[in-house]
Amino acid sequence: MKGEPTIMSPRQITTPLLFLTPALLLLTIFVLFPVANTIYISLLNQEGEFVGLDNYAEVFGRRDFWNPQNLMEGKSPPYGASIHNGIWILIHLPLSVFFGLLLAVLLREVKGGAIIKSAVFLGMVIPMIVGGILLRFIYDKEAGILNGLLRVVGLGHLARTWTAFPQTILLALILGSVWIWTGFCMIVYSAGLEGIPVDLFEAAKIDGASRWRIFWRITVPMLRPATIVVVTMTLLWELKIFDIVWVIQRGGPGGASNVMALDMFLDAFFSIPPNFGTASAIATILTIMTFGFAAYMVNRMVKS
């Protein structure tokens, strides 16, 4: 009867719990405990004494983490790891999403599109370390395809090892990683496109809508769930970017390509003695940021 509370039987309560327990147990051991422990360690100094938020203050006080002065003065990087991550998001996110959507839409109706999609997706399939090594070759002054292209179009005087210079390395890495990540965006969008009823497109065509109008009025809105997934995953990837940066110049030269995850890694494994306090502080900052973004986007996805 309406309004009457439903009383669940003990079996109805215990059965879901029984099925949830293994997953909850694994989550607790491998996610919740490490997160809680990392936060705890971030409050300790190298001697294991409680120091409150000192590690956070130290991290934000460092030039290699937060150095907006160069940016304000219009100088080349380094701007600090956190700002580099921000720049990564500002450039990489829109480009990856744009190219992913563009390729998904264009290749949908192209004969042999699946083969081209597979080729584009290769960047995503290969390990990031290998992707980084490939980028090193692409940007190499002698062997690189980029400089080869410059020479072909008569701009050989611009040829240089693009990853060797503080002025160019960050942009080179970001643009290179667009190639690596676009495949993922394209695949998610392709799957999203398959989910849009064909009737909608046909009806719009009958009504005389242009392709452009169909794209903006039907395709883009209907792909909103896919966009949320793409943006969320891309943001998380950008925040925890490490492997490409590591393999190309280890955050250099002069810290010009340093990122937060690398900063954390260096603190934990290169300091003598290891500075797990500041490394954990950076890890906690990263966790809060990624969790915040993810929670916001998932919330939007659920609502949509």
């Binding site: 030039r63 080349s76 002054k141 240089r160 090892t161 060797a164 210079f165 503080p166 002025q167 110049q249 280890r250 955050g251 250099g252 030269p253 002069g254 810290g255 010009a256 260096l266 603190d267 494994f269 290169f270 300091s271 003598i272 003695p273 290891p274």
Partner: protein, 418 residues
């Protein structure tokens, strides 16, 4: 209604129990009849690859033949080794039974965590220079066996390149500057000095040569031990001079160490500052008659790096690892290694006759100057990676603010562990 005549539950249980007993019995029989385990294979981690690795493996053949113990070698790059070993030891695992590395501070930091075995009783300490052992000694315990020594004597070149282009080896700093200008003016030469990259150590070796050459060996020692600041006038003077050479375009853009060796040989670059180990690299190794070196003129010192063999306390093959440590510390092993080129022995019993003429030339030069520890190897930690990284930036942007660079180095300095 017919009763099911299948095997009862008790019957199934009996079958399973019987199978378990049979399998267990077979396991016991198999174990008892197995031949005695062969001697284990030891795993050695080091920084060597290519020719250096081949030479090391060749040196190990004697050990393997004498003891019947085989050795598996895994070569890492600098940063990989710096991370891999401590991480494995922190996790309570020693994949390597012996590790060979040139970083005293790193070794003592591992020893401080009780990760290493005291090797004092495995070697005759009177057969090694005290300075080699002091830097890996803590509380009277010795944690590293000096296996071989690589000096950083100066600039390497093809003698035929100098002859063909009427170049002369400089004896003063002014002559050195003239030489750089002369080499740069040669057709087909991209830059006078090749710059090696990788993680950055070739640049730090070059920089240290200028610190020692222009500031004196004592400046290098003072920087290591904190008696001089990186942002002092003395250090800045050295960096100003280095930056002026960079701005003049005398140094190439950094590229992989190996690639630069080949480019020096083909005349793309004129000279290359490197350690003595370059004579073990092709095409130098096969053409030693055409190889020469000269120190930075007027220098009173040179850096030297000792490769230490260390033994993780967690090794599962302690006896065999000890045998290997004892072998590596022996004059016999070091003589074999020296004979293969590129290095000096740490053991004092290795005769000069064991060296090739060019290696002996290096050794004789090193005997005339004061040998100081490698700056970044001695300090270690994040200073080392920062030093490499800042130099990579300086090399491609020599107009960068030197005060900021030197302050960054000073901020990262920490007292060495020895």
């Amino acid at each position: 209604m017919k009763r099911n005549k299948g095997i009862s539950q008790a019957g199934w249980m009996a079958i399973v129990a019987g199978l378990i007993i049979i399998i267990a019995a077979m396991g016991v029989v198999l174990y008892l009849t197995l031949p005695a385990p062969e001697k284990p294979t030891l795993t050695v981690f080091s920084l060597w690859s290519g020719t250096e690795e081949e030479n090391f493996l060749e040196a190990l053949e004697t050990f393997e033949e004498d003891t019947g113990i085989s050795v598996r070698h895994v070569g890492y790059d600098t940063l990989e080794l710096l991370i891999t070993v401590p991480t494995q030891l922190q996790a309570g695992v020693a994949i390597a039974d012996v590790v060979i590395a040139p970083w005293p501070s790193w070794i003592l930091s591992l020893a401080g965590e009780d990760y290493l075995t005291n090797v004092k009783d495995m070697i005759d300490t009177t057969k090694f220079p005290e300075t080699y052992l002091d830097v890996v000694t803590a509380d009277s315990a010795i944690y590293g066996v000096p296996f071989k020594v690589s000096g950083k004597p100066g600039f390497w070149y093809r003698t035929s390149f100098f002859t063909d282009n009427d170049l002369t080896v400089p004896t003063t700093y002014n002559e050195f500057e003239t030489l750089l200008a002369d080499i740069s003016a040669i057709d087909g030469v991209d830059a006078a000095i090749a710059s090696g990259n990788g993680v950055g150590w070739p640049l730090s070796d070059t920089t240290e040569a200028f610190i020692v050459g222009l500031g004196g060996y004592q400046l290098q020692l003072d920087l290591i031990f904190g008696d001089e600041q990186f942002n002092s006038t003395a250090v800045k003077d050295v960096f100003v001079e280095l930056a002026s050479l960079l701005q003049a375009g005398y140094f190439s853009v950094p590229d992989d160490f190996d690639a630069q060796v080949a480019k020096v040989w083909d005349g793309t670059y004129g000279i290359y500052f490197q350690g003595s180990f370059i004579t073990a690299f092709e095409p130098f190794a096969s053409n030693l008659d055409d190889v020469g070196f000269f120190p930075l003129p007027e220098t009173d010192g040179a850096t030297g790096a000792v490769d230490y063999a260390i033994m993780p306390a967690l090794t599962k093959h302690a006896d065999e690892a000890q045998q290997l440590i004892e072998f590596l510390a022996s004059a016999e092993a070091q003589e074999i290694m020296v004979g293969l080129g590129g290095f000096a022995a740490a053991h004092t019993d290795v005769p000069d006759s064991a060296y090739s003429s060019i290696d002996l030339e290096v050794l004789q030069f090193l005997r005339t100057v004061t040998i100081v520890p490698d700056l970044d190897d001695a300090i270690g930690g994040t200073f080392q990676t920062t030093f490499w990284d800042q130099l990579k930036a300086l090399w491609v942007t020599p107009t960068m603010d030197l005060d900021t660079l030197l302050q960054t180095l000073q901020d990262e300095w920490s007292a060495p562990s020895f």
